[in-house]
Point group: C2
Chain length 138, copies 2
Amino acid sequence: MLETEYTLAPIGILHSPLKQRERAPMQGGEGAPDAWLDVNATVAAGLAGIEAGQEIILITWLHQSQRDILQVHPRDDTKQPLRGVFATRSPDRPNPLGLHRVTVRAIAGTRLDVGPIEAIDGTPVVDIKPVLAQSADA
Amino acid sequence: MLETEYTLAPIGILHSPLKQRERAPMQGGEGAPDAWLDVNATVAAGLAGIEAGQEIILITWLHQSQRDILQVHPRDDTKQPLRGVFATRSPDRPNPLGLHRVTVRAIAGTRLDVGPIEAIDGTPVVDIKPVLAQSADA
């Protein structure tokens, strides 16, 4: 079972003014901009019920990540001891999935204006989920 | 870009007393049990820093899901109108990723006792992330 692999297909792509990973904030709440999520027409029926003003969770594929890194210095601070990537939000990890809680600012057809979000321009999105009212979490 | 595919490899597997999807609660807070997460030895170095008592987010691969479903009746209630899967937590969705906020009950080597979690026995786990202190969310 552990040798199995699974295939993800993007459901959309982010268009952001952030062009380089090096310049991106580490979390959305740290001065990140809004971005457009352009949803693939083939899955756009899955958006029915999402409304402007709502909070949603985007799961992204952090396409510039290194997948062979298992420990990092938190927040790139080499004065901090190495930690396992599963104890951090480092984009470098075996399966480079990003988790972003954002507000839907506006919806125009299959495009959602969302933010704030620290993911860079061109980041593929692989899933969208509502924030659950009873737990305010993932 | 939207035609690209990405490959996920499990980093571990859940061992749960829940054996059938039909009997699983819909969310962890709805009477779900604890489960053991057995982490693959090849990525176990990534666990360094995770501690008992901490809240973490597991991202699972919901391996029994149907990927061609774009709209569902929320909570399987046919009296409710169809909604897009991205506006629900339905396991049936184009990329069947599950998001579970759990407490680490105990750690024994590469096994984490976590819960409560509604995922069934044998569910592959593809990522682990800490809950961020500043936002209590995903």
